[in-house]
């Protein structure tokens, strides 16, 4: 079946891309100067201890050998051990990925109303003061760096109007509500950043759809404005926004790095920054690979969805 061939082809391409990513990652990081051994043992290390560690960790093998070894490990699910604590990378990553996935889901949940509601308001009241005002707000927020937004939100909701916790003091004895409260600020920051990006597009799409003949027909048929909007305009306008959502997911993987740091959220992004500073190579490599995997995966799904939804693309 041609569709299956197309899908299989896309998957194959994605795998190839990931392979090249792994090469790039390994090359960039194995060139990392600064002796890993001395970074682990600290300033009190003796040369003998350093050499022992180097041998133990196989840092003296040639690079291609190490690459293949690593790649083999990745493919078989063995991500190695942390150079710092000797714990399996899986153990280190698992809770962090879990936390970031939760955070992302929460962010997406907040992102939907933050996008849809302003866009709807802008479309309905287009070219009126509300529309202009919201456009300005969107533009400013779009131009604001996420770390600045995060800092301002932290200040507002933790210091000025203290309704949210400052740090995530959650462990397994905390309730779901505690988790939710700890995640709200970082999720809100991410949601706002993603939303402002999508609001403008959704507004433009909504206006375009509202002006289309299809909608005019519906209005002429006597359907109420609200029904026209929600039942007809919105779904049509949302489809191109799906593409934006995939891109937002890509942003998310990088955006969590800054946001998690500001809010001290124990997720994937803060793990990356920490392990970069510790030069904990296996953790860094696996983390970056996972980030790329998520990006490639999201794009793959978006591509396939687009092909499936739009027959015209099937010949591409």
């Amino acid at each position: 079946m041609p569709i299956l061939r197309l899908v299989a082809g896309r998957i194959l391409l994605s795998v190839l891309t990931l392979l090249i990513v792994s090469l790039i990652v390994f090359a960039v990081l194995e060139v990392l100067p600064g002796d890993v051994a001395s970074r682990i043992l600290g300033r009190d290390a003796t040369p003998e201890a350093l050499e022992l560690l180097r041998i133990k960790l196989g840092l003296n093998d040639p690079a291609p050998v190490r690459y293949l070894h690593w790649l083999g490990g990745l493919l078989s699910g063995d991500f190695g051990q942390s150079l710092v604590s000797s714990r399996p990378v899986t153990d280190i990553l698992a809770p962090r990925i879990y936390n970031t996935v939760l955070l992302s889901l929460y962010a997406f949940l907040l992102y939907l109303p933050l996008t849809v509601i302003p866009a709807l308001i802008q479309a309905i009241r287009r070219d009126r003061p509300v529309d202009h005002g919201l456009s300005i707000v969107t533009l400013v927020l779009l131009s604001m760096p996420d770390f600045l937004l995060a800092t301002i939100l932290l200040f507002t909701f933790v210091v000025l109007v203290p309704i949210l916790p400052a740090i995530s003091l959650v462990d397994h004895s905390s309730s779901a509500l505690d988790y939710l409260r700890a995640m709200t600020l970082p999720a809100l920051t991410l949601a706002i950043v993603m939303a402002v990006y999508a609001v403008r597009m959704l507004r433009d799409n909504l206006i375009e759809v509202l002006d289309s003949d299809y909608v005019r027909m519906a209005e002429l048929k006597g359907l109420s404005a609200k029904r026209v909007l929600l039942r007809h305009a919105l779904p049509n306008a949302l489809v191109p926004t799906l593409n934006v959502t995939a891109l937002n997911l890509a942003y998310l993987v990088g955006g969590v790095v800054v946001v998690e740091k500001v809010f001290s959220y124990p997720g994937f992004g803060s793990l990356l920054v920490d392990s970069l500073q510790l030069r904990d190579l296996p953790v860094i490599e696996t983390t970056v690979m996972i980030a790329a995997l998520v990006y490639v995966g999201a794009n793959l799904i978006a591509d396939i969805a687009a092909v499936l939804l739009n027959p015209r693309l099937r010949t591409a």
Binding site: T46, A166, L234, S264
Partner: protein, 509 residues
């Protein structure tokens, strides 16, 4: 579209719930005292006392373990796992009598074998502990256990302050035979709290009260919840709102936010860490003692304390002994004198001024600020300092001992150790390349003089020599500031900031 509306509703509901529970800020079922730290070593965290890579580990190690003896701010020795100690007539053998009836959390009885094992493994290079450098005066073969409740330390030369010197951040006692891989994740000590939840890199550590602790009635708290926040704003908000009970370090820049808060009490330590600007005395232009003196006399020490530490510190006198200590050679820190500085520079042949690079990093909080303030203070004397800021995480490995002008920091040590750790010829970290046999001899004499008054005088002389001719500018000692919520009591911060004692800490809810 119903789905979309449902999701919108769910999102709004979630936000509302999160905001509404503001009244009940304390998490449910939380009898633990919540402690907030400030140093974070991530994956490096370890329950093995030999590992102590950063201040982060002290938060749990010092609650889970005990040492043989404890030190207070004046370096007086107090009993902990050892009850009595004394030295032989020749000064070479110290004998410690150990406490009876102490058990490790695993149930094993504490005996002298554990003490011997602990010190031997610290000295063993296979353990790779930083303790090796500071415990050099110990002879591994001289550590013996004549019986189950006695341990002896025999050294090649008399070490007058041995009880003080064997009480550092590494020497918490571990069970005999315990392996590094096990200890790292599963701490087993004799201390007031037991490990309940500990994973490296996890945001929260939970320690539970030790019901069989040898000091009856302690610890007061049922459990400790330790977490770390490196964001000053988050940390301050956490203590203000009661999310945490004890904040172990308040960054000077946010102290004003807590000063007037009625729900928080600020605690201040005595002279704690020192910060220095260190020069190689064998490198130009610092090889001329007049230049070095000029570099010291440009500093307005009190102003530096006020700017960098916001007043939470005290001026230093260019040697590791705090000015208030009986071993200090002066009662007051030197004053700034630009005329003298210019004169000295002119005499040294630099009448047009001096120019050099100073390497720094935020290795400890405030270090970069200190470098910048120093550069500003040196300007009017014609000294042009180019401050080069390097990354904090690689500073100690790649820059510190490798440049002729660096900033540095040292934790509080007893005079005998502080004057030696970087300045004797055999020092492990010869920060200033200072090599003076007369200095070493003076210090050795001080460290082997039994008479306390005489010893202080010798320390003073040694300190004076270092201050006048050495290659370090030590302008200030930090006073650590901590915050404790009203309603909590029983915490006394110590100058050696790794020495955390949570035994008396308790909070009434």
């Amino acid at each position: 579209m119903k789905l979309a509306r449902l999701m919108c509703g769910a999102a709004i509901g979630a936000l509302a719930m999160a905001g509404l529970s503001s009244a009940a800020l304390a998490a449910a079922g939380d009898e633990c005292v919540k402690v907030l730290g400030y140093e974070w070593s991530g994956e490096k965290q370890s329950m093995d006392p030999a590992d102590m890579h950063s201040g982060d580990d002290a938060y749990h190690t010092f609650a889970v373990y005990n040492r043989l003896v404890d030190i207070d701010d004046n370096f007086n020795v107090r009993p902990e796992l050892a009850t009595e100690w004394g030295v032989s007539d020749d000064g070479l053998t110290w004998t410690f009598k150990l406490r009876d009836g102490v058990k490790f959390h695993s149930g094993k009885d504490f005996s002298s074998a554990d003490a011997v094992y602990t010190f031997k493994r610290l000295l063993d290079e296979k353990t790779g502990s930083g303790a090796r450098a500071v415990l050099e005066f110990l002879d591994p073969d001289g550590i013996k256990a004549p019986d189950a409740h006695t341990v002896t330390f025999t050294t090649k030369k008399p070490v007058v302050e041995l009880p003080v010197l064997i009480s550092n951040k590494f020497t918490n006692i571990v069970p005999d035979g315990a392996k590094q891989e096990d200890l790292r994740l599963h701490g087993d000590g004799t201390g007031p709290f037991m490990q309940e939840e500990f994973t490296p890199n996890a945001p929260v550590r939970i320690l539970r009260k030790n019901p069989n602790y040898w000091d009856a009635g302690k610890p007061k708290a049922d459990c400790l919840k330790i977490t770390v926040a490196q964001e000053a704003v988050a940390a301050v908000s956490a203590i203000k709102s009661g999310e945490v009970d004890l904040m172990l370090n308040v960054d000077p820049s946010v102290i004003p936010a807590l000063k007037d808060d009625p729900s928080v009490v600020l605690l201040e330590t005595a002279a704690s860490n020192s910060m220095t600007i260190s020069f190689w005395v064998d490198a130009k232009p610092f090889d001329d003692p007049k230049v070095r003196e000029a570099l010291k006399v440009v500093v307005d020490r009190q102003a530096m304390v006020d700017t960098v530490l916001l007043g939470f510190g005290e001026p230093g006198a260019d040697n590791p002994v705090p000015v208030g200590n009986p071993a200090s050679y002066v009662k007051e820190a030197p004053k700034q004198d630009y005329e003298l500085a210019k004169k000295l520079l002119a005499e040294a042949g630099h009448k047009d001024g001096l120019k050099f690079d100073l390497y720094t990093a935020e290795g400890v909080p405030g270090m970069v600020r200190m470098a910048q303030v120093y550069a500003e203070m040196a300007k009017p004397a014609g000294i042009d300092i180019n401050v080069i800021v390097t990354p904090a995480e690689s500073f100690w490995d790649d820059v510190w001992l490798k440049q002729s002008a660096v900033t540095s920091a040292w934790s509080m040590r007893p005079p005998g150790e502080g004057l030696a750790v970087a300045y004797t010829q055999s020092a492990k970290w010869k920060e200033t390349h200072w090599e003076r046999p007369d200095y070493d001899a003076m210090l050795l004499k001080a460290n082997t003089t039994v008479d306390a008054a005489e010893r202080q005088k010798l320390f003073q002389q040694t300190g004076e020599l270092l201050a006048k001719e050495g290659g370090l500018v030590l302008p200030m000692f930090v006073h650590q500031v901590l915050a404790l919520r009203k309603g909590c009591e029983g915490y006394t911060p110590l100058a050696q900031n790794f020495n955390l004692n949570f035994e008396d800490l308790s909070c009434s809810k």
